[in-house]
């Protein structure tokens, strides 16, 4: 079977589901999860292309992306935690105006 097609399909599917998370889910944490999925999909593709072309830079980028994604999740979650300290999940947080408050 054509490896290229397989890899692209899985990566695109993963990316699409990640996008689905961001667009459809209400909670912010779900959005964070969505972002994680999209990063992984990208990583898969990067590693696949690096392996195909035998280019170490690809792998290096994948590694760095992995670390950056980790840092991003940490910051994201801490933001969400600090924001929601004291009041429960109310719709305001969904809107920009709410967050500003």
């Amino acid at each position: 079977m054509n490896a290229e097609c397989v890899v692209w399909t899985t990566a695109s599917a993963l990316f699409a589901v990640g996008a689905g998370f961001i667009v459809l889910r209400r909670q912010l944490v779900a959005m964070i999860i969505g972002v994680e999925l999209m990063v992984n999909a990208a990583n898969i593709l990067i590693v696949f292309t690096a392996a195909r072309r035998g280019d170490p830079a690809g792998l290096a980028v994948a590694l760095l992306t992995l670390a950056a994604a980790a840092a991003e999740v940490v910051v994201g979650l801490s933001l969400i935690m600090s924001m929601r300290r004291g009041e429960d999940e109310v719709p305001e947080t969904q809107t920009l105006r709410g967050m500003a408050g």
Binding site: N2, A3, E4, C5, V6, V7, W8, T9, T10, S12, A13, L14, F15, A16, V17, G18, A19, G20, F21, V23, L24, R25, R26, Q27, V29, A30, I32, I33, E36, L37, N40, N43, I44, V47, F48, A50, A51, P56, A57, L59, A60, L63, L64, L66, A67, A68, A69, A70, A71, V73, V74, V75, L77, S78, L79, I80, M81, R84, E89, P91
Partner: protein
């Protein structure tokens, strides 16, 4: 090799879809864990066990812990899991599908390779030399980034 990749890839997508339709966030987090582990397997299949290992170590380990803590700390949510959007429900679903179609179209245009390429240990060694060679700055920068990120977890009043 391509067939096992297809199976593991399919599993990953399944886990992701499951996560999307989970009622509780906790369930979603667990499915995310599944996807991350599958991704690690995919890396290994692609001939880069180091990345697979790091993926498990960094992602599946540290990140998942944080996600789980965040979910547990937040009070149980009663309102529905779906956000109401300006656009009607079916049209909302259109966006992810469109993303999928866009990427697939991009993939088709790049032409195909039949056998699954293997990165191999030599490439990993070359990567290591690269990381700590010309890209030393990038590596250090990522390191510092991760360090600062962890500082952000401290609460103001702590």
């Amino acid at each position: 090799m391509t067939e096992t990749f297809a199976v593991c890839g399919g599993l990953a997508v399944l886990f992701a879809a499951a996560a999307l339709f989970q009622k509780t966030l906790y369930g979603a987090a667990m499915c995310l864990l599944g996807v991350l582990l599958e991704t690690a397997v995919l890396f290994i299949l692609l001939g880069s066990p180091l990345l697979g290992f790091l993926q498990v170590l960094v992602y599946a380990g540290a990140v998942m812990v944080l996600v789980v803590i965040a979910i547990l700390a937040s009070p149980p949510k009663l309102s529905g899991r779906w956000a109401e959007l300006n656009v009607p429900r079916p049209v909302a679903w259109l966006a992810p599908l469109a993303a999928f179609a866009g990427l697939m179209a991009a993939g088709q245009s790049l032409g195909g390779v039949h056998a699954l390429p293997q990165a191999g240990p030599a490439l990993e060694r070359a990567m290591a030399r690269l990381l700590f060679g010309p890209w030393a700055l990038a590596t250090e920068a990522v390191g510092v980034l991760v360090l600062i990120a962890s500082l952000s977890v401290l609460k103001e009043d702590a």
